[in-house]
Symmetry: none
Subunit: 456 residues, 2 copies
């Protein structure tokens, strides 16, 4: 088949040269699109658009998909907007994505602009950009200017094309190779100090930009930090390929926070609002974590089991059982306070890996203060209200200090460690901290009891 | 970027020490004001005024706004009257108000004295709005138009006054009594279909607005929902008094989420970043909640104490002690999952009071599914791995179902109830839910044990 089509190349060239388009079309219609695509390798470059336009309509899109990407570029550049829209609307999204992955930035832009919004969204999602990348949230509809333009040129361009742009207020200045060289706002132009200043004179050439593969939440936080209405997105070669606007950044921040909060509460996050999630889906989001945490509690049970005899041996020991929940809860709460603070700090970019020693040093001091306060109050309460023996009060109060210190340190270290090894730090929030601290608390409790009450 | 600025600290210190101010200034001018502001945390306090005076003029005000409030005080105290007036006149009114709110009274007085009368009046007005109100975050610097204006009039006005406005892109149209009658964007004007159209013809007269006393977080969420760059704020008589811009809305959303997260983790929220909060201040944010929760655990201790005899009476009962932590943790986790989901839903405005029955009905079904799953897995685990008696396995597994159902219902109801009586629902997150569910779990556990094992 492949050879067969090669054989007809001279014939095709002749038909093209003689402008016998009708004959050519009926001839081509008997071939497979994948084969016809090969023809484009054989003919002159200037004939490519003509040949494509001759193709039977139902064959055109399929043929386009099969074509070498250089020819696709040639064609897209030759297409009118209407032709491009027609071809793209005939393509499957995954094919469009495959095509786009091979295209230079300006062609990608043109394809995305001429897709309808739904398709564009799907393309962006499917495209090489991972779900959590900046590329997946960017838009390709922005105002692009040349440094030589004057205010009148800019406003004329905005008047002509601006209606379709996501924002016209922040405009990006590029060189002929589409590298981002500056940014200028409509405000800069409207409030220019002199008449007749060019874009090149008015623009700011220190531009904060992000890469297509940068984390989308970090991009949104950067925009928030610098109060940006839009941020330019560049590819590996530093060419401008898109922008992210403040409204999308807000959505990312809101849903990122929701995700963090859900993970911290041991729920698998989803984008769906609570009331729209079915009972089964809700169960599925929660049960794996409940199971995992329940099974992890085996350690705690094991420890208790181990000390079962000791606990029932004397009244002094039995009295200690009543304070197990209080110790465990306090440990969980104290650890949760730190871990959630650290997780949020990491999320907002306020703290990073290299702050670990500062955090630990701070938390040790806070833990001693908190532990001591709780211990004193607890000792008073146990003596005056619970009226237990002084040795029991000492055991519980001493344990309390240790538990709070352990919990604070575990709560500070685990989220940072999680981040370090590439996990979401939010996983290391109260539920996990509680499970770990529970086991440690019990060990300390019995060790202290052994020392103070003196059983072997 | 943030890390980048930290790296140049030694270099900056050296340039400062050698009084190479010119070099220092040109070096700093390539950074963003928000990053330069971080430098002030790193250098000696006595160098702060020197460094500030070196800053390029256009950067100084923006940098001042982003700075830690302690450094702002240091600077204001070091400023001559003339310097203070210059800095204040470069600040937006809403930023000035934010700064003033953190300052000691004598500094506030000095700032007000050095503001021009119009600005002082606006500052004073804004200062009277409650902390969480929209009035407290709005700015009074916006472009106000009359319906009869043409595009040329508008651009002339923007050219004259626009430099000082926080946004020029969304302009507000008012009648002679300053009632808001419409909104028009610079984009509408630039892309107007015909020459010579007036503001009245181009404006949108359906305007989304908020009141000065509306909750600021709700205002920010409204802006996010409708993708608004700015939202007009009206007083009781529906007169336009200010606007809120997207950058402030983003900050409100971020810090609102941080606040929710902190409250959910039983921490008193503050605006200060973690690393800048001192040990004592951190202790103060955490200890009241730890104390409260510790004392609340008295109920749990009381219940355990009450059943102490029963627990030590037989080996079958003693075996049950080992599973107390697992039951309590599972209850806490299951309840926390719901409460956090409901709290977030309330915060985002996705659920409200009238959804309570739908939520309960849904959570009952989810709870039964979760409880049953956990119960079955636990029964298997206790029989096969822990190798306990069948009656112990039955007691624990039956209790597990009840605990999960109770926890889910408590977790669903309490945040909504809290909202109903005017408390922050975020208080009703895992720590409180855990404390309540702990006590209920133990009661159920012993009741079930009584029924199954049969002690009186």
């Amino acid at each position: 088949m492949t050879d067969e089509i090669r054989k007809i190349v001279p014939e095709i060239e002749e038909l093209l040269a003689n402008r016998k388009f009708h004959e050519l079309r009926s001839m081509l219609s008997s071939y497979e699109p994948a084969d016809v695509a090969l023809l484009f390798d054989e003919i002159d470059e200037e004939s490519i658009p003509i040949l494509f336009r001759i193709l039977p309509k139902e064959m055109a899109a399929e043929c386009f998909v099969e074509m070498d990407s250089d020819h696709q570029v040639t064609l897209i550049e030759a297409f009118s907007d209407k032709e491009l829209t027609a071809v793209i609307s005939d393509l499957f999204v995954d094919d469009t994505v495959d095509i786009i992955e091979e295209m230079p930035a300006n062609v990608v832009k043109r394809i995305l602009v001429h897709s309808d919004p739904q398709k564009r969204k799907e393309i962006n999602e499917l495209l090489h950009y991972p779900d959590d990348s900046t590329g997946s949230i960017m838009t390709t509809e922005f105002v692009e200017l040349k440094p030589s333009m004057t205010a009148d040129n800019v406003f004329a361009q905005i008047k002509k094309t601006g209606v379709d742009k996501e924002t016209i207020y922040t405009c990006y200045v590029t060189d002929p190779a589409r590298h981002l060289i500056g940014v200028v706002t409509v405000k800069d132009i409207l409030t220019a100090p002199k008449e007749g200043m060019t874009v090149g004179e008015l623009m700011e050439d220190q531009v904060i930009s992000v890469g297509t593969l940068d984390d989308k939440e970090e991009t949104a936080r950067t925009m928030s930090k610098y109060d940006l209405m839009a941020i330019p997105v560049v590819d590996n070669e530093k060419r401008l390929v898109g922008i992210v606007t403040y409204d999308d950044a807000m959505d990312v921040i809101e849903s990122g926070d929701t995700e963090d909060i859900e993970i911290m509460a041991a729920i698998t996050p989803t984008d769906k609002p609570y009331l729209k999630t079915g009972v089964f889906a809700t169960w599925l989001k929660r049960i794996p974590w409940l199971l995992l945490l329940m099974v992890s509690a085996t350690f705690t049970s094991g420890i208790l089991k181990h000390f079962e005899d000791a606990l029932t041996r004397s009244a002094a020991m039995t009295a200690l059982i009543a304070f197990i929940p209080m110790l465990m809860d306090t440990g969980g709460n104290a650890g949760g306070q730190v871990s959630v603070t650290v997780i949020r700090g990491l999320s907002l970019g306020e703290i990073s890996m290299r702050d670990i020693l500062r955090i630990l040093w701070k938390e040790i001091r806070v833990a001693i203060l908190c532990g001591a306060t709780l211990s004193v109050v607890n000792f008073g309460k146990m003596m005056l209200i619970d009226r237990v023996s002084i040795s029991a009060a000492i055991v519980v109060s001493l344990t309390l200090v240790c538990v709070v210190i352990i919990a604070k340190l575990v709560g500070a270290i685990l989220p940072i460690l999680a981040k370090r090894i590439g996990f979401d730090p939010a996983v290391m929030a109260s539920p996990f901290i509680t499970t770990i601290v529970d086991a440690l608390s019990l060990l300390v409790y019995f060790k202290v009891a052994q020392l103070v009450i003196g059983w072997a």
